[in-house]
């Protein structure tokens, strides 16, 4: 989880000379100590999720699809009760962390890699590159996302790699527009002009001049997009696409139990709350990072 933020963070202080590993680690620790409570909370949540995701089989009391008792057992004997097929709710939530977070994370990374780089290049190069990229994105975005996903998933099947690929490409269009818009603002700045006149290569301009100045909004977007991937998967399960059963994922778990909420039963709130907690945690860390990169003292 912390990785992408760290790598992006590194590019902002690209100017100072390389620091030795140990002192860098110390630095990070010190920063962490100074971090506001919310950021610490966010990091704690993220680490907990990673831990749960990695060690799901060890933590979970039962097997992922094991039927342990009657359906809809109340809380108690099974800590969080059982689901509509009599599977342990807690176990499903734990395995759900692994599947949902893993897939959402990989998908968002891909989306940012594709959309971000294309957006920056389009802004720097301008001209026909910009036009071609923008038109392709226009076309992809002009087709409603859910409908497009429905078409593609029906044609290509719903295996996990296909799901990741399709959602990443569809989501990257949104990243592209943002990356392009903020980069354009930067590209017209005087210092970029100067760099161009100096004859710097495009890679250099991207990494040294543009990226550092657009990291903040991109990271903020990352925190959001990450969450939207869950929701898209939930939306797909509404149309009967989504992940292969009996794989547990939070989006589908909300869907499967959603009707209970109409009677005031809070079972479907559990997976939704799991998503919410992670979203809030991630975005707290993002906020902290934004605050740091903004260079504000207060």
């Amino acid at each position: 989880m912390t990785q992408p933020i760290k790598t992006m963070g590194e590019s902002t202080d690209a100017v100072p000379p390389p620091i030795r590993e140990t002192s860098r680690f110390k630095n990070a620790l010190q920063e962490l100590k100074k971090a506001p409570l919310t950021a610490k909370f966010g990091l704690l949540v993220i680490s907990a999720y990673i831990f749960v995701a990695l060690f799901a089989p060890l933590i979970a009391p039962y097997g992922e699809s094991q039927i342990v008792g009657p359906e809809y057992e109340p809380w108690g004997h099974f800590v969080l009760g059982t689901d509509n097929l009599g599977r342990d709710m807690l176990t499903r939530l734990i395995y759900g962390a692994r599947n949902t977070v893993g897939i959402a994370f990989v998908t968002t990374l891909f989306a940012f890699f594709i959309g971000g780089s294309a957006g920056i290049f389009a802004a720097i190069l301008g001209g026909w590159v910009d036009s071609v990229f923008s038109r392709i994105v226009d076309i992809l975005m002009a087709i409603p996302q859910l409908i497009f996903a429905l078409l593609l998933l029906t044609i290509f099947g719903t295996s996990i790699p296909v799901l990741i690929g399709i959602i990443a490409v569809l989501d990257s269009t949104r990243v592209f527009r943002l990356a392009r818009a903020v980069s354009q603002n930067v590209v017209v700045m005087d210092y970029v002009e100067v760099a161009r006149l100096r004859g710097e290569r495009i890679g250099w301009i991207t990494l040294r001049e543009v990226l550092p100045n657009i990291t903040a909004p991109l990271v903020a977007e990352f925190g959001m997009r990450f969450c939207f991937v869950f929701l898209l998967i939930a939306g797909l399960s509404f149309l009967g696409l989504g992940l292969q059963p009996p794989t547990a994922d939070w989006g589908s778990m909300v869907r499967d139990n959603a009707t209970l909420i109409s009677y005031g039963d809070i079972t479907p709130l559990l997976p939704a709350a799991a998503i919410a907690l992670l979203t809030v945690g991630t975005n707290f860390v993002v906020d902290w990072f934004l605050h740091k990169t903004s260079g504000l003292k207060s």
Binding site: T154, L239, L241, P245, N257, T259, S262
Partner: protein, 528 residues
């Protein structure tokens, strides 16, 4: 007690409210529960005319059409049954009665059928019913250029002709003792003919209601046909018929009073819905069943021992309990339900891992790995059924891989294309109809790709057999063959579970032939 009789009369005339009746009855020495049940039974028998009925149905689409040839789902079936009449009708006691036909008779070989038409029936456009209307309406589904979904039903009709204005004669290519049942199919309403053709999308029929507005996938408005010929049916003044695809939305609408009735309750939460005192949840077990057809021409399903092993590896009781939440009955791998005519009581097949292993061994297999394609398009809960079945079968040395496929395109892409998939049947009124549609060797939807010589011979013989006892015996034998040697697993019969506001009255008997009282709720129910 004669006082009580008087009270009952007042109630049935609609002149006394429940509270008034209860008070008076208890004063007359009747217990509270007793008084309540007397009131319901009496009040029930007394339909009232009037009111605005709002109905929410799950299965309807913006691509729906009024053409009966393409009627597909409950939503349009209900419109058909509101606006049109048929030659025959399956009533709410599941008996065949005449509708536009008053009587019918067959030749000895059951190949020629004469239907006598009802007199004094007029269509919504003022035209009165005669034989030409019937001929044109049935011909709409026949012939090379017809796109009708009912084509297989009328395939056996060689010729239709009129004998005067009030008699229609059908010539069949083979004897069929059940032919009058076929004429009640929801695709085959009688519409007014002009120059030998019907205008299939006009929505004009002779039914209890006139279509005022049809907005596919959204709403249909109907109003009472003041000249309706049928006595004691068609009580509402106006009807608002809504498509509400999402079951939670449907349930909320019912609970908030936005609609009076809905189909297909969410079985996961129906026990919670039942707590609502203003709502009645019906449970009608009929012919609707869920199936897992195996392609009998492909290995390993071409081996009957493998098929038997798979049939023994499914825990039917658990499925009825978990998937249907008790709203159904276990199936016995044959499609005739216990409430249907000619049902044969065979010994019930049970979950038996040892026996399943025995049959696997007999087939020369130590273990078995098979893929089952599932989508909730097959039936609600199909994917969950597959997942549970996987767990059951694992204990029998059978490893089932559940392959969830998209709902979209399920019937054209997966069903009868993948070797093993899931499906459902609304059921048919007679065994012959059901067997001919899904088990006969040459049936278009022989979903198990199953060819059984003796079965097919019996099917043709029984169809033309007018001797009831002989017929029953033949159908019993056929059910046994299908159960023991067929290539379709039929683990459960699913009840229809509609829910309605207590403001809606209905007869004590509810038809088990299709949902929503045989999809004839508009005609049969009333505002209590």
């Amino acid at each position: 007690m004669s006082n009580l009789r008087k009270l009952e009369k007042l109630v049935s005339a609609g002149k006394m409210s429940r509270r008034e009746f209860m008070g008076a009855a208890i004063a007359a020495g009747v217990s509270v529960t007793m008084a309540g049940s007397i009131f319901s039974s009496v009040a029930e028998a007394a339909p009232k005319q009037g009111g605005h009925f709002k109905c929410g149905i799950g299965a309807g689409s913006t691509t729906d059409s009024l053409d009966p040839a393409t009627t597909l789902q409950t939503y349009t079936q209900m419109i058909n049954n509101g606006a049109y009449n048929y030659l025959t009708e399956i009533d709410n006691h599941n008996k065949l009665i005449g509708e536009l036909a008053t009587s019918w008779e067959a030749s000895k070989d059951a190949k020629t059928w004469r239907f006598k038409l009802r007199k004094g029936v007029t269509f919504h456009n003022g035209k009165s019913l005669d034989a030409d209307d019937v001929i044109a309406s049935i011909n709409h589904h026949r012939g090379k250029d017809s796109k009708s979904a009912a084509k297989p039903i009328v395939k056996a009709v060689k010729d239709i002709k009129a004998d005067g204005k009030e008699t229609v004669i059908f010539e069949l290519s083979g004897g069929n003792a059940d032919f009058p049942f076929l004429m009640s199919d929801y695709h085959l309403p009688i519409l007014p003919a002009k120059d030998g053709k019907i205008n299939a999308t006009s929505g004009i029929g002779s039914g209890a209601y006139i279509i005022e507005k049809f907005d596919p996938g959204v709403t249909t408005h109907l109003k009472r046909n003041p000249d309706y010929w049928k006595k004691g049916r068609g009580h509402f003044d106006t009807i608002e018929h809504l498509v509400i695809a999402d079951v939670a939305a449907r349930t909320n609408a019912l609970q908030t009073g936005a609609i009076h009735a809905m189909d297909r309750c969410d079985l996961k939460t129906v026990h919670l819905l039942k707590r609502n005192k203003k709502i009645e949840v019906l449970k009608v077990v009929g012919a609707q069943h869920y199936t897992l057809p195996m392609n009998a021409t492909v290995a390993p399903f071409d081996n009957n021992d493998v098929r038997l092993a798979l049939k023994l590896a499914i825990d039917r009781e658990a499925l009825v309990e978990t998937i249907l939440r008790g709203y159904g009955a276990v199936g016995n791998d044959q499609p005739i339900g216990s409430a249907q005519p000619y049902y044969a009581k065979l010994p019930q097949r049970k979950y038996d891992p040892d026996k399943a292993r025995f049959h696997l061994k007999k087939a020369g297999l130590g273990s078995l790995k098979v893929e089952l394609a599932a989508a909730d398009a097959a039936f609600s809960g199909a994917v969950d059924t597959a997942v549970l079945y996987k767990e059951h079968a694992a204990k029998c040395g059978i490893d089932i891989t559940v392959n969830r496929v998209p709902n979209d395109g399920y019937w054209s892409n997966t069903w009868m294309k993948k070797p093993w998939s899931m499906s459902y049947w609304g059921g048919r009124a007679t065994p012959d109809w059901m067997f001919s549609v899904a088990f006969a060797a040459d049936a278009e939807w022989n979903e198990g790709f199953w060819k059984h010589e003796k079965f097919n011979k019996l099917l043709v013989e029984a169809r033309a057999e007018l001797d009831e006892a002989k017929r029953a015996q033949m159908y019993a034998e056929m059910q046994k063959i299908v159960s023991d040697e067929g290539s379709v697993i039929i683990p459960m019969f699913a009840a229809y579970v509609p829910a309605l506001s207590k403001k809606i009255g209905h007869d004590a008997a509810i038809s088990a032939d299709r949902d929503m009282d045989g999809t004839k709720a508009f005609e049969r129910w009333w505002m209590a």
